[in-house]
């Protein structure tokens, strides 16, 4: 119920109407020591390679821009690996040992995290549908598939392992955030193992490839 309301009325109303729950979520986030591995206040802290390598988990200060609320709440109760490799490692596999929350905790932490937005993502810019140009960029023109797993037409997973898996990314990520992440690397994460594509891909092609990635969904 709460979730539906959130997706219908958007972040502004959510903040106004559900402040109590946002605060509950923040309290759980602190009590469960999520703060030991995740920071939740911008701007980006990764200014050098050392900064990134000192971190124990991904930054969450723009979680509300990045994730889909429904996916987030479900993942918090049953956190399955997203990155094939252990965080900040090139040799060890993801140990699949992320702490899990109860459904109630996940609902309030989900609201807290979905309230963390940057104001740098324009809504409604990426049209999610089959995008031949985007597919071409992802698998042929650019090295995206060299670092990211994705599912082929028959559901077979291929691709590189150093980046987060993009299998079913359309359920997990906000399509408009994918575009913003490509367009504003210095804002979201100035230092990361992924190349900067600004000046190499046009805004239009960034939107194409974002649409392709946002269209990665489970086969029905």
């Amino acid at each position: 119920m709460r979730q539906k309301l959130a997706s219908v009325t958007g972040a502004v109303c959510l903040l106004a109407m559900a402040t109590a729950s946002y605060a509950d979520g923040q309290a759980v986030f602190e009590a469960k020591e999520c703060v030991a591995c995740h920071y939740t206040e911008g701007p980006a802290q990764e200014k050098t390679i050392e900064d990134q390598q000192a971190k124990l988990g991904p930054e969450l200060w723009y979680a509300g821009d990045k994730f889909q609320a429904e996916w987030l709440t479900a993942w918090l109760t049953d956190p399955q690996p997203i990155r094939p490799l252990k965080f900040n490692s090139l040799t060890e596999d993801n140990p699949a040992d992320h702490p899990a929350l109860s459904a109630d905790e996940a609902a309030s932490v989900g609201e807290f995290l979905m309230g963390l937005t940057s104001g740098e993502v324009e809504a409604g810019t990426v049209k999610v549908k089959k995008n031949a140009k985007g597919r071409q960029i992802f698998t042929k023109k650019m090295p995206c598939s060299g670092c990211h797993e994705y599912a082929g037409r028959k559901g077979n997973v291929s691709g590189g392992r150093s980046g987060p898996s993009l299998v079913d990314a359309g359920v997990r990520l906000n399509p408009d955030w994918i575009l913003a992440y490509l367009q504003k690397p210095e804002f979201f994460k100035p230092v990361k193992m992924m190349p900067v594509f600004v000046g190499l891909l046009s805004d239009k092609d960034m939107a194409n490839v974002a649409a392709h990635v946002a269209n990665f969904k489970p086969k029905k």
Partner: protein, 122 residues
């Protein structure tokens, strides 16, 4: 901070705009962070991205015969502009918008240490 200021003064506005505020020229760290994911931590072309369906083997930097076919300028160009700029695979990314010129020059030298070779001259 000092580094950023010096960099700006030395290389001018264009470089500043392209540059991410990365750590000062610690080439080993730069290599391990950006290149090892495909070329491997010792340069053998065996990073974790190279699974059985990776379309083309990343260059093995310990192969002196192969690395001697490239001049330092060739190596620099492919790092900056990616595989397709020299008719090679697009799986070799363009790093020109990610790394500073200083970092790329450092990497060219670093690869020469790994291959223990001087590269094509002239």
């Amino acid at each position: 901070m000092k580094y950023v200021t010096t960099l700006a003064a030395v290389t001018g506005l264009t470089a500043l705009l392209n540059a991410v505020p990365a750590a000062a020229a610690d080439t080993e760290m730069v290599y391990q962070f950006y290149c090892a994911q495909c070329h491997g931590s010792t340069g053998k072309g065996d990073g974790p991205n190279v699974t059985k369906d990776f379309p083309v083997s990343p260059r093995n930097f310990t192969d002196a015969a192969e690395m001697n076919k490239l001049s330092n300028a060739d190596v620099k160009n492919v790092i900056l502009d990616g595989g397709p700029s020299v008719s090679k695979s697009p799986m070799m990314p363009p790093w020109g918008k990610t790394l500073t010129e200083e970092e790329v020059d450092g990497l060219v030298q670093y690869l020469r240490v790994i291959c223990a070779c001087e590269g094509k001259q002239g």
